[in-house]
């Protein structure tokens, strides 16, 4: 049973054209139908939290947006650019979409600063000085500028994830995707990363966040989406979502995740 209630008014009154649009998205892993008829529309500046049991396809869905996973049916349009098989198109979209991974995926052979400068220098072709200055600004924003010359292996998990966020921001993307950014962190480090994400949200970044941190969803999200078995079961603004879930499956999931 699918219940969709239209999202409550989001952040600023932005463009009419959606920032991200998923229409009739279907994906199979071999024979396994992992994403079933996904329809989603994200406006500029909107903050979306996606939750659901594991295996529900949440990560797969956002990885389809920047083509880390390939979809077999349906359309994906990012900032007016349709996602096709054309590599130029794919790379253009990837430059516009930043991604933060559960396991950080920092480049261990480069310093923190070099990690952040890599893409601006090689993708945007900016001179090194300029790229480094810009990278230092973002590193200051995530409050890790003093570690700029260390290697990722010398940092804690929370610090690494903040570097990862800064690294994605250095390309000035329009959209940020977060794939369970705090799931691999020790509890005392989750807060520092969430704080950075909240600040980012408050500055108007369009965000899609797969997470189990419901506190974050309540504080920051414009819409919360619940997925199960490859489908969007329910989506709503945080208040009605948490206080009055419509679908049984949503209720079951919320009771499990908010219970302890």
């Amino acid at each position: 049973m699918t219940t969709t209630t239209s999202a409550s008014q989001g952040n600023t009154g932005a463009d009419e054209r959606p920032m991200i649009e998923l229409k009739g998205l279907n994906k199979w892993y071999g024979d396994f139908h992992v994403l079933r008829d996904i329809n989603l529309s994200v406006r500029k500046g909107e903050r979306i939290v996606i939750c659901g049991p594991s295996g529900s396809g949440k990560s797969t869905m956002i990885r389809c947006i920047n083509h880390l996973e390939e979809h077999q049916e349906g359309d994906i349009v990012v900032n007016g650019m349709p996602l096709t098989q054309d590599i130029k198109q794919i790379e253009a979209i990837r430059r516009n979409v930043g991604m933060v991974f559960q396991h950080f995926n920092l480049f261990p052979h480069l310093t923190v600063l070099e990690n952040c400068c890599l893409a601006p220098i090689w993708v945007q072709k900016r001179p090194r000085r300029e790229a480094e200055a810009e990278a230092m600004k973002y590193l200051e924003r995530v409050r890790i500028a003093d570690q700029a010359h260390k290697f990722p292996g010398q940092l804690s998990g929370g610090q690494q994830q903040r570097v990862a966020i800064a690294r994605s921001l250095c390309l000035s993307p329009e959209v940020m995707l977060f794939d369970e950014p705090t799931s691999a962190l020790d509890p005392e480090m989750i807060k520092e990363v969430l704080d950075v994400m909240v600040e980012l949200a408050n500055e108007g970044m369009t965000m899609l966040c797969v997470t189990h941190e419901m506190g974050f969803a309540k504080t920051v999200a414009d819409r919360v989406i619940f997925m199960d078995q490859g489908q969007i079961i329910e989506e709503n603004a945080p208040e009605p979502f948490f206080n009055n879930p419509q679908s049984e499956r949503t209720q079951l999931f919320l009771s499990q995740i908010l219970g302890h």
């Binding site: 083509h67 590599i87 995926n105 052979h109 893409a119 090689w122 290697f151 292996g153 390309l171």
Partner: protein
């Protein structure tokens, strides 16, 4: 109340650090734990020392103490020791092969320049390695070719059939190594590619060249390559050997590279892709730098094997170090000194191979400093 007393414990006084007991550190302690730990251990140690005495002392006696070192002919070999005169008298031939003796200065220059370039690249503190690498790969080969082969700048031509000895071994090994590594990397990337044609070509290439012995490859290169080349071009025998060796080695190198690439987590490539880096930038900036560090033992292993395999060119009539020494042993003036000859060859090979091995261990230690595991 009594339960509280038994369950709780508070340490009031911090213990200062003390030095370890004197009989647990130091040389005597090491000997005691490692060599003389118990009766059986001690017995083995004494037996091993006895074996060393039986084997090493006579060898040193023969090789160093009773040996004759200088002279010009076999009459200078007095005593029962080794006759190193054989080596010192023919050393020029062992090093330069049949290269005319008035022109050997050219070989010396090439060796010296090469050694200097390699030293510059090998010593970590020296700067501008990028430029030196470019010079070594792009400029030096031409310099080396013009000097060794001659034909321009007023230098007399010395054909490759006159090259031999240690010089030829080094030419074969260096060219083989330098050419096989990039080719091997490309083959490994191709084998991991998702494009079916590229992948099949690479798989066939690798499995073919790995499946035939190097001797066969050298024969084939010597006999078959001229068939593939237009009539007027007469491929030099050395060039044919180099092509065969390079293709053969690149197949081995490809598998070593592939092993290293497999060890890099997929997340690294994904992070690169998410940042908008294309395939080649991803490989060159993110994956290969990390993978190459892991591949060092495998690569150096392959290099060392190649260095020694170059001796097989004897089969197609090229005289590398081993063959030149063998030819010297067949000289009637120097019969009976085969032990000295082969020992010399073994020593030279060992020095080169061991140096490569030590350098690779040094490189591994160096490259790990920035890459601490989480």
């Amino acid at each position: 109340m009594s339960i509280e007393k038994t369950l709780s414990r508070v340490t009031e006084k911090m213990i200062d650090s003390r030095p370890a007991p004197s009989d647990s550190i130091g040389a005597v302690a090491w000997l005691r734990t490692n060599l003389f730990a118990g009766p059986i251990n001690t017995l083995f140690t004494l037996f091993a020392l006895y074996l060393v005495y039986l084997l090493v002392v006579p060898s040193l006696q023969w090789a160093l103490i009773d040996a004759s070192w200088s002279g010009t002919s076999r009459e200078d070999c007095t005593g029962e020791g080794a006759c190193w005169v054989f080596i010192s008298a023919r050393l020029d031939q062992f090093i330069y092969g049949f290269y005319p003796s008035e022109e050997t200065w050219r070989v010396d220059i090439v060796f010296a320049v090469f050694a200097a370039l390699i030293a510059w690249l090998a010593i970590p503190k020296l700067p501008a390695k990028g430029w030196v690498a470019i010079v070594t790969l792009a400029v030096f080969p031409f310099i080396a070719y013009f000097l060794l082969h001659g034909g321009s700048f007023g230098l007399e031509i010395v054909g490759t059939h006159e090259w031999g000895g240690l010089m030829l071994t080094l030419v074969l090994a260096v060219v083989g190594i330098v050419a096989a590594l990039p080719l091997g990397i490309l083959l490994a990337l191709g084998r991991r590619s998702e494009m079916p044609i590229v992948k099949s070509i690479c798989v066939v290439f690798i499995e073919f060249w790995r499946g035939v012995p190097l001797i066969t490859v050298l024969f084939m290169a010597s006999v078959m390559l001229p068939l593939f080349v237009p009539g007027e071009v007469n491929l030099d025998k050395l060039v044919r050997a180099l092509i065969g060796i390079t293709l053969f080695q690149s197949a081995y190198m490809a598998e070593v590279v592939r092993g290293g690439l497999q060890a890099i987590p997929k997340g690294q490539t994904e992070a690169g892709m998410a940042l908008g880096l294309g395939y080649w930038r991803n490989m060159g900036l993110i994956v290969l730098p990390q993978a190459l560090k892991l591949m060092i033992p495998g690569i150096v292993n392959t290099f060392i094997a190649l260095f020694k395999d170059t001796s097989l060119v004897l089969i197609i009539g090229l005289f590398d170090l081993l063959a030149i020494v063998q030819a010297g042993l067949a000289d009637p003036k120097w019969l009976g000194y085969s032990i000295e000859g082969y020992a010399f060859v073994a020593l030279v090979f060992w020095v080169f191979c061991f140096s490569m091995s030590r350098y690779s261990q040094y490189l591994e230690r160096l490259l790990h400093t920035g890459h601490k595991k989480r």
